[in-house]
Symmetry: C2
Subunit: 378 residues, 2 copies
Amino acid sequence: MNVAILGLGTVGTGVRTIIEERVPGITVSRILRLPADVCEPCMTSNYDDILGDPSIDAVVEVMGGLEPARTFILQALAAGKHVVTANKAVVAANLGEMCRVAAENGVGLFVEATSGGGIPWIASIAKVRRIDEIGSFSGILNGTSNYLIDRMRKDGSTFDAALARAQELGYAEHDPSADIDGIDVANKTIISAAAAFGCDCTHDLPVSGIRNLTKDDMDAFAAEGLIVKLIGRGVCEGARYAVAVEPQLLPADSVEACVPDNFNIATLVGTTVGPLKFYGQGAGSLPTGNAIVQDLIDCEQGVRPSFDLDSSITYDPSLLVGDYVMRADAAAMPAGGSARPDGTSLFTGLTALAAREMLRTTIEADPAAFMARMPDPQ
Amino acid sequence: MNVAILGLGTVGTGVRTIIEERVPGITVSRILRLPADVCEPCMTSNYDDILGDPSIDAVVEVMGGLEPARTFILQALAAGKHVVTANKAVVAANLGEMCRVAAENGVGLFVEATSGGGIPWIASIAKVRRIDEIGSFSGILNGTSNYLIDRMRKDGSTFDAALARAQELGYAEHDPSADIDGIDVANKTIISAAAAFGCDCTHDLPVSGIRNLTKDDMDAFAAEGLIVKLIGRGVCEGARYAVAVEPQLLPADSVEACVPDNFNIATLVGTTVGPLKFYGQGAGSLPTGNAIVQDLIDCEQGVRPSFDLDSSITYDPSLLVGDYVMRADAAAMPAGGSARPDGTSLFTGLTALAAREMLRTTIEADPAAFMARMPDPQ
């Protein structure tokens, strides 16, 4: 099988290395780069050289960003080429359209590497659904925010110190917003929901992040035996589903609470198999490259992922209800909660959507306010 | 696809339920039972009715035990029928022979359900090996022993009280030896090593269990921030491998330490993907039935597992070296250790094989002695 790689950054380099060193049946025949970076015969800066080359069976899109990635993916599918991508933003924003174009052209759209890096998460969802319905999923799907929380917990770092260290190590971008504000997790949650529930998942889900999490917050939670993690989740009941991204408090002796460094973990609950958890490196050149090459091998073996997006499965935020703890200035604290000894307030029986709206208005008065979902009753 | 189920106990019932309720493409056409239990037209007590029926494509062996399971599996393979089995004892004892007969007859031997119940462990190993070498694996592969440890930890139960409760719940057999002495984990370790390393794994590996674990031991470990788990593991370097089953001490905030109840977790480390962990129900009618039905669906889709057992990969116990803590009467304590404040002794730099031999001789003098491997340095 001949493949073209669009972009030769961290992940693209991993894909090329793995294929060339480990997978004799696949050939990297073209690489799309910026004109200034074209330095080998296989490289081009003209995408038409790839689109118009009938010997290229699959395109690996690892450029990132929304455009031109969206156009390039749709053009490749329309040209009858399979597409394997690690680009969660473009897939989350355009999954329905991409699936339609892939189906119309009899090719596969492979997105394992968008969610959970090297973890076989999307393929495992698809495998479970051969037998079971998936009633819910949840996970630590962003390694950067998990790294920040783990450093704050284990080293006593402040948020800013942990973030600076993550940026030094290349775990966090110069602008860390997508990671710490939950945007990256939201994209992965949208893709996971599509895979798990077959829904064309809403883009308008409640999303809150950990930007305002402080060491004092973590110490107060720890005194209650709790650890906070940034969790993306979805539930499905019949033809209704809900999704959310929010900081979640977990018992310190739970599996998720112990996920270290920048690792990811994702859980699904199937009808007969019960809960399954999948843990691994959520990012990085070789782990994410590995997920892409696994998709390519699947593609070569004739696998064609099917998301079966069913528009009759509707978004119902009332399916996700929980209790929330809010830390805010007294003047900014919303009414209706019960005061806790540490000055925070507890709000019970809120949907994730209502909780997010409450946080939004609270932050208008106290820009440093922080809110987390309490553990679900065991 | 038409299948016959051999045995209709807990797992066989789960397989039948899942197929009949969820998998229209597969039909349970015959069920082998004891003569007294034959009560439906599809049931027979004569295995020749199944072997000689050319319409039966695959045989699901869920009888357990070594015989007649071994003979029935080999006969089915020789008759050109695929075999799917949950029987870890018979597979661990006969994997080489079964693989040969399967290959000679162009059929598949599917063993997902032998190791880790509903966890997609064996299939995940095979998938990882499409790209990577697996350098090591380890796991909590026995739900009964994990349940006992978890009850002792969380409820303060004695070993005997926890065992009695596990027997009440059906988690433990009347004779719990296979679970608490590590024999069940050894079988799963042998199968996992064959899948992960391609070795025809030795049956003569060091195995120790948790029969002698006391609440006092656990309290002393907890004072050091450690939790004990019964771990099966393997390592492979080049053409050499080693395997062992033993109680292992782990930091209380590690993922494995937090695996609750009767759940299982298994970890592999691949060259490019890094560490992957898989968690789920290691036993039970529906989870284990699910694993068998996943194998049947794979079989229907043309998957043929290949273990590629390579006899040139040799067993080298020197690859597994660690430090061990021994609790024994003063008169029974082996020489050469360093005394610890709690009366136990630490022995450093032992192979798992040497440690097992040391435990064996210690138990001759103190039948209640207990030994565990210390955490590996981070």
